[in-house]
């Protein structure tokens, strides 16, 4: 249990930094371009960043305090549920951003329903998976259109996060600690893709002569 908490603390702490970097860049893009998509991206990644940060804080408190095992289980379960709700909300915002953007370009075939009707009856995690499928599809379409490396990274990032959520769903239903650990690591790997995008975007040096 302590190992899982420590791992979760580490991945969430670093994850929060990466997510806040994306939300910061989104805010700067919004300020400069006034494109509404970046507002949704900023809000979505901010929520994900706050979620990660709070998880890191709470897990560090749980690790520091000698709480009974049952308290730790109840705390982590409650946090997990709240975190899933926050994630779903964040993915709804990001998916809304894509829908809004592609609708304005007349790409109506891409403006598919954000929340499939079936997902209403399913748990937050499954809703997140459906939303991530939609987001991955949008990112894939963007990549296929232009075949740029940064687009590939965004697509791989969202795809990896989707895989992590599928693993998490299986881990919960199968009561598997190892799958839970794997889902955390895969989620973190997805965030690393976004970190590379941030690094690529913020690299210094002018592209044309001064």
């Amino acid at each position: 249990m302590r190992f899982i908490l420590t791992l979760t603390l580490g991945t969430n702490a670093i994850g929060a930094l990466i997510l806040f970097s994306i939300s910061y860049l989104s805010f700067k893009a919004l300020k400069m371009t006034k494109v509404r998509f970046f507002l949704f991206l900023f809000l979505g990644f901010s929520i994900l960043g706050v979620d990660s940060f709070l998880k890191a804080v709470i897990f560090s408190i749980l690790l520091a305090t000698p709480a009974p095992r049952v308290v730790m289980y109840v705390s982590t379960l409650t946090l997990s549920i709240l975190s899933t709700l926050a994630e779903v909300f964040a993915y709804i915002l990001i998916a809304l951003g894509y829908t809004d953007y592609f609708r304005s370009y007349g790409k109506l075939f891409l403006a598919a329903p954000i929340v499939p009707v079936l997902a209403v009856h399913l748990s937050g995690l499954i809703i997140a998976i459906f939303l991530l499928l939609y987001i991955v599809f949008q990112a894939f379409t963007a990549y296929v259109h232009s075949r740029k490396r940064n687009q590939l990274l965004v697509m791989v990032g969202f795809s990896t996060i989707l895989l992590s959520r599928i693993l998490r769903l299986i881990a919960i239903t199968a009561f598997s600690d190892s799958l839970f650990i794997a889902s955390n690591l895969v989620y973190f790997a997805g965030l690393l893709c976004f970190l590379i995008v941030v690094l690529m975007v913020t690299r210094s040096g002018k592209e044309t002569k001064v």
């Binding site: 893009a29 790409k107 687009q151």
Partner: protein, 92 residues
Amino acid sequence: MARRRRSRLRILVDILQSIERESGVRITQILYSANLPYDRLVRYLNELKEKGLIKEVREEGAVKYFLTKKGFEFLSEFRRIERFAEAFGIEL
């Protein structure tokens, strides 16, 4: 897929880039490079001057335009944002 009209920001960036490409450029060169009608170009140039992104200098009887330091920084920042937007499939 239908191409969207150039946004105001894109027009301003096109003007700045045409000035950046050749330091000390005349209005007619910007006209062809940025592909704008004369009266609109003049309005945009005035706006860029007011924002401190370009400066107007009289040289050898002709008016020439140069990017200011702020103008270079703005273009650099725009390119960063453009790379970020491109990663998500967004055209600016």
